[in-house]
């Protein structure tokens, strides 16, 4: 199921993205393409669905281009875009009253693993996505932001709009769940 409709955004802008020559515009346009894989990955961690993750990344790119004048030059474009993506995800989920999440479904069954044959990297990816699938979304997002994307505790708290203490709690619980799951995998 695809939740995000880039066409709606495109329609709202007359099919074109109007951009000026401001420094903020330039920074967004310059940085956005290289960010797309990371946006997709964040979308995948949140949604657990490759297609939804792609739509999320695309919708985020569109919104970032539309609102590039709101970006403050010199600040973290990735954090700004992550915030947009999270907002789209949460608003859309609220609107659709859909409870997304990976639950206990193995990554392969959830369509998380690239079906292309091959490389060792796919094994690595499959393993970590299966681990992530064992975590509740809140813990998954905290673990991802802090340990994968390198957010500080304070940055993660701001991103998730929760107190730092809650971030620490989610990291602790996430670590416990990961440890338990990794131990079971070893057996």
């Amino acid at each position: 199921m695809r939740v995000f409709h880039a066409a709606k955004v495109e329609h709202a802008t007359g099919g074109k993205i109007q951009l000026g020559a401001k420094k903020s515009d330039r920074e967004v346009r310059k940085g956005l393409p290289a960010l797309m894989p990371r946006l997709w990955r964040y979308g995948l961690v949140l949604s657990g669905d490759r297609a939804i993750a792609q739509d999320l990344a695309q919708a985020t790119a569109l919104r970032a281009l539309e609102r590039s004048s709101q970006f403050r030059p010199g600040t973290r474009l990735d954090h700004w875009c992550f915030s947009i993506l999270s907002s789209i995800w949460k608003n859309d989920r609220r609107a659709h009253k859909v409870r997304m999440g990976l639950g206990q479904v193995p990554a392969e069954e959830a369509g998380l693993v690239d079906p292309a044959p091959g490389a060792d990297v796919n094994i690595l990816a499959s393993r970590v996505l299966s681990l992530a699938a064992q975590l509740p979304e809140a813990q998954r997002e905290a673990i991802f932001l802090v340990y994968v994307e390198g957010f500080s505790y304070a940055e993660a708290a701001k991103r998730m709009e929760i107190p730092i203490g809650t971030v620490m709690s989610r990291l602790a619980n996430g670590r416990r769940r990961l440890k338990q799951t990794m131990g079971e995998d070893d057996v």
Binding site: A6, V9, E10, G15, K16, I17, Q18, L19, G20, A21, R26, R29, K30, G31, L32, P33, A34, M36, P37, R38, W40, R41, L44, R50, Q54, Q58, A61, L62, L65, D78, D114, A116, A119, D120, V121, N122, I123, L124, A125, R127, V128, L129, L131, F144, V146, Y147, V148, G150, Y153, G165, M168, S169, L171, A172, R175, R176, L178, K179, Q180, M182
Partner: protein, 246 residues
Amino acid sequence: MSETDAIDDAALVRVLDGTASPAQARRVAEACAQDPALQAKRDAMSVDIGDIRAGMDAVLLQAPEMTLPQAERTWRPIWQAAAAVLIFAVGLAAGRLLPGDGYGAEADWHQAVADYQVLYTTATLTTSPLPRQMRDAGLSRTAAALGLDLTPERVATSDMTFQRAQILQIDGAPLAQLVYLDANSQPIAFCITRRDGPDTAPVTRQFGRQTARIWQQGGYGFILIGPVAETSLIAATRELSEKIAL
């Protein structure tokens, strides 16, 4: 309240993350040594975050091809660069890069590489560094696509640190992109593609702030490019051209 009671989950996480102050880390270590229950609690949270990070790097390589919306003509020059990034970075990260949009002529493939390279920053390479195993695996796949013998030793240089390799594509032909950081952490790209033509000695070309050393050897075209002075590229050009002599 005992010393152990005062050590909460947050303190344990900070210690495990290496973000605790020395005093806090020492206090937790001492408390764990005296309290097996606290030690067990800490151990229950002790996971190798490096494994998680490496796995998520692998996920990144599976990112699909994505395109940005069509833009007004006023920002077309930048859009072309953006398109280059999407074509190169997004698509080919998964080995599925789309053909370029008309970069066919000899001069234009150099320009295409320059368009792409201008969008690289130090952070591009340092945000998610690849583990050695994945880095070497990427180099191996890239070498196979080009039919070249590229090993970590052969692509190593004295003044630059090899970061990663990936297979790109231009006009239907594979293009290898090897990325380095120089001693000043500037991103340098070394790109190779099959090109007919006689061997030529390295020459320098300037693409805006990007300086490039370009040469042809054994049916392959080479370009070493980065936002650095020509002198910074000459030694690396010599090393690479000698090591990858065909």
